[in-house]
């Protein structure tokens, strides 16, 4: 299968990943174990774009707001819209990154690293290495979190646990019910 065919046939994986990420960050604690790299906290905060395709054509909705306040976006999920891109905040230790992840390629847009300490006047290469390290750290963390998602996605538990919990969370969003930490998981 050619790369573009694969991208098209499996682009739902990116959309489901963003949904899973949102669910994990809102209904659970959004903490992911990175092994020897410690723990990462992920939450969606800022602009989120959702889209659906039906007989009326393509419908897109873009919402901006704080994670717990994105009621319109939650409602859109219940209307079978899927996430096309989302603003993600990633925290590891004292560092925090911000970027927009798109579902098709998992490209990083509007990528902001934590403040670089080196001012570059005396050691320009120092800035390069510091910035590159911060870029690679965020990429590695998100890849590891994506691997956790894939691990769940190909397991039997995806249908018996994760799908049910996410479905319930989506339906709570449609009725305006607040998701309590761990409440959805407790159902499974």
């Amino acid at each position: 299968m050619q790369i573009l065919d694969r991208v098209r046939k499996t682009e739902f994986l990116g959309r489901e990943f963003l949904l899973w990420l949102w669910y994990k960050s809102e209904a659970e604690d959004g903490i992911f174990d990175l092994g020897d790299k410690g723990k990462a906290e992920v939450w969606l905060d800022g602009k989120i774009t959702l889209q659906s395709e039906n007989e009326r054509g393509v419908e897109t909705i873009t919402c901006t707001g704080e994670a717990l306040n994105m009621k319109e976006a939650r409602f859109a999920l219940a209307e079978e819209k899927e996430i096309r891109q989302a603003t993600v905040k990633l925290g590891i230790g004292d560092n925090q990154w911000s970027f927009v992840l798109d579902s098709t390629w998992l490209n990083f847009r509007s990528f902001k690293t934590p403040m670089v300490v080196n001012d570059g006047k005396e050691d320009p290469d120092g800035v390069f290495y510091e910035k590159t390290f911060l870029i690679e750290e965020a990429i590695a963390a998100m890849d590891q979190i994506y691997s956790s998602f894939i691990g769940r996605r190909i397991s039997p538990e995806w249908m018996t646990e994760e799908r049910r919990a996410i479905s319930r969370w989506i339906q709570e969003g449609a009725t305006g019910g607040a998701a309590q930490p761990g409440s959805a998981e407790g159902e499974t």
Binding site: E11, G14, E16, N107, S110, Y146, I170
Partner: protein, 204 residues
């Protein structure tokens, strides 16, 4: 490396020949950025420049080599004529010709010739707009980060990377990342290829 930006990720071959870095300055310099000649009518020029200095395209040393990374920028200069300016100059040129040749109307083909002539004349006066896109290649892990998410520029980057380093880049997408994970875990790719979209709302 500057400010907030977007980037696309690729994977390059991890196992490079032991002499890969020999003569790399000359190789990169061969595909380095060249200024658009002021007298030429070329609309576009693209090539590698120093990631720390977009005006440095010499690659005289090994400033691109920051072990274990190879870091350069792709610089693209383009001359563009504002559409309204082209329209205005075309109209003026057409009026002049109509008056000189005592014509009431100009045929379509003649107007196209006039437009092309005006466009070429204005191109020489247009100052190129320069953009740079950083590329950081970790030669140990094979990860290549390219500072752009636009398809056209990314395609040009893949092509230039191939011609320069003789290596094919594999774009990273949800499938390729999943494929990597499944292979690492020793599972069959059939697990992945058999997946279909989850219907989250079918219980309603």
């Amino acid at each position: 490396m500057h400010g907030s930006a977007g980037f696309t990720r690729y994977m390059a071959e991890k196992t490079l020949p032991h002499d890969f870095k020999e003569g790399l300055s000359e190789t990169i310099a061969r595909y380095a950025f060249r200024d658009l000649d002021e007298k030429s009518i070329d609309e576009r020029s693209a090539g590698w420049v120093n990631i720390m200095d977009m005006f440095d395209n010499r690659f005289a040393g090994i400033e691109f080599l920051k072990e274990p990374y190879i870091a350069v920028s792709l610089r693209i200069d383009e001359r563009r004529i504002p559409p309204t300016a082209l329209k205005q100059y075309c109209r003026e040129a057409e009026e002049t010709i109509r008056e000189e040749e005592h014509l009431e109307f100009l045929p379509k083909s003649r107007r196209a010739d006039i437009k092309e002539g005006v466009r070429l004349r204005l191109l020489k006066r247009a100052i190129p707009v320069a953009r740079t896109y950083d590329m950081i290649w970790n030669t140990v892990t094979g990860l290549v980060v390219f500072g752009c998410t636009g398809a056209k520029v990314c395609d040009e980057f893949i092509s230039r990377f191939f011609h320069t380093f003789n290596l094919q880049l594999q774009p990273i997408c949800p499938y390729t990342l999943a494929e990597r994970y499944v292979a690492q875990e020793g599972n069959s790719l059939n697990l992945l290829d058999g997946l279909t979209p989850t219907r989250f709302l079918e219980d309603r």
